[in-house]
Amino acid sequence: MTERDDQIQETSITDVFASFEGDVPASGRRSSPARLVRRYLPAVFAFLAVLLVWEGLTRLFGVESFVLSKPSEILNSFSETSGLIWGAGMRTLFEAAGGFVIGTSLAVATSLAAAHWVGFRQGVLPLAIVLNATPIAALAPIFNNWFGLTNPFSKMAVVAVVVYFPVMINTTRGLLEVDPAELELMRSLAASPSEVTRRIRIPRALPYFFSSLKVASVLSLIAAIIAEYFGGPQDVLGQYIVNRAQLFQFPDAWAAILVASILGVVFYLLILAAERWLMPWHVSFRTSE
């Protein structure tokens, strides 16, 4: 969440005063291109520096490709096999996204129930925490058996279970951690529990929910690839990586890993965009000049 901290620091005292005078639109100002460049330039430099050092050291010490492939070899394979690895990437992403949607939906339903019924919360949450301690990837062979090795749903099920817990735990916490004064206000207005959930708890839980989605978006790809290692169709990233590594084609394996990480970043950024769109009012997105 470092990008949020940056934004908070950038809000200067003059912005605060300007906003009192009412000349700042509620949605906040857009950053200018020059600012964006200045902000992301250090990250770009760091990224390039790592690649250069990596390339330099592997060349200097003559590191074999099967130990650590050179960035140049990886990029070469990345462009030569692009059709293959992006195709595999899309199928893996389909499993990851499917599992993400299923897991998140179940998690939100559980959270709403837990926020609404004290009994449910006391009964089910401890159980959920115990189950969460189970190494979930270990379930993959079992799900393969249940849903069929070639059925993408067996991978989605692993992803869904992995995604479920962080989203459920965080969302439940967000729904329950509400300012007591807000609850008192709603009580004074004789608001029903469902009104309180709709008008206070859900908006208050959104920041927790999105934090967990950001974690879950990355986890979902990890889980999908690990689930693929346990067998199934060959045209997916996990199996491709295993196969290329067995053939000692390590630059190919690395290129597939690069696809996986690009997909992970894109997934993460989509969540970030949805977050900004759904809660423009949140403190982390307020005016930064």
Partner: protein
């Protein structure tokens, strides 16, 4: 004279049980007439906020009887007989100023067409008409508290409960807000129960000051404020105003020394 808006007889409140038991209020007799502006003043722990919360049915009494607007406090709350303003404005960040004022109207199922009109009227009343589309965080503390007042009055309750509403504001803003509340009170005719620990604030605002003392919380004195109804900067320099401030201060001191200690 019509029936009182608030009528308490022998009201008591005990929090906790056994070792942790605390007697917050004992033997409270209080009557608030329609149109009154009553301040509850006293040191911390005197139960003034608890008394306000009892009236609002945010906590329930342990002993005694309490009638609000001619009903059980619970029924009165369910009928939305009162609006409440807390020390923090408690505005919802994700709603514009206008939508914050509309919140009670939404909960009470006011017709869609009526809500914005009402909200705008209320924002006019607290002189924030130009800020309807702002978000709470873009307002100063005093402005936020004015939005909270507009929200509390949006459904025209018979009673306005205010729990140290200006406690977090600086002195200048505070005085401006006091003037504002008096104006709103004059225009709406709502009865007000106002919790404060500021003596000048209590005297300046009220028709009656109820002095409370701690351990256990009880009413130790009641002082009628016989200042002219129209109050402004001159009131703060009126000799009678100073006399009343001294009177309340002495009543507070008597209440403090009269309490059992412990």
């Amino acid at each position: 004279m019509s029936a009182p808006v608030v009528e308490a007889r022998g009201l008591g409140k005990v929090f906790g049980t056994g070792e942790a038991e605390t007697e917050a209020l004992r033997g409270i007799d209080l009557e608030i007439a329609e149109g009154d502006f009553v301040s509850l003043i006293g040191p911390s722990g005197c139960g003034k906020s608890t008394l306000l919360r009892l009236i609002g049915d945010l906590v329930s009494p342990t002993t005694g009887t309490l009638v609000v607007n001619g009903k059980e406090p619970r029924q009165s709350r369910l009928d939305r007989d009162y609006g409440i303003v807390f020390q923090s404005a408690t505005l919802l960040d994700w709603r514009s100023v206008q939508k914050n004022v509309e919140l009670p109207l939404e909960i009470m199922d006011f017709p869609d067409a009526e809500r914005p009109t009402r909200a705008r009227e209320m924002l006019d009343l607290v002189q924030l008409a130009g800020f309807a589309d702002h978000h709470p965080w873009q307002l100063s503390g005093g402005m936020q508290q004015r939005v909270a007042i507009a929200r509390a009055l949006a459904f025209r309750p018979a009673l306005l409960l205010m729990d140290e509403p200006f406690g977090a504001l600086d002195e200048m803003t505070r005085e401006a807000m006091q003037q504002e509340v008096l104006r709103v009170w004059g225009e709406t005719g709502t009865s007000v129960v106002f919790v404060t620990h500021s003596i000048p604030e209590a005297v300046f605002l009220s028709t009656r000051v109820v002095v409370m003392s701690p351990r256990p919380g009880r009413i130790s004195d009641e002082i009628m404020v016989d200042l002219p109804p129209k109050r402004d900067l001159d009131t703060r320099e009126d000799p009678r105003y100073f006399e009343l401030v001294i009177e309340v201060r002495e009543a507070l001191r008597r209440g403090e020394s009269g309490s059992s200690g412990s």
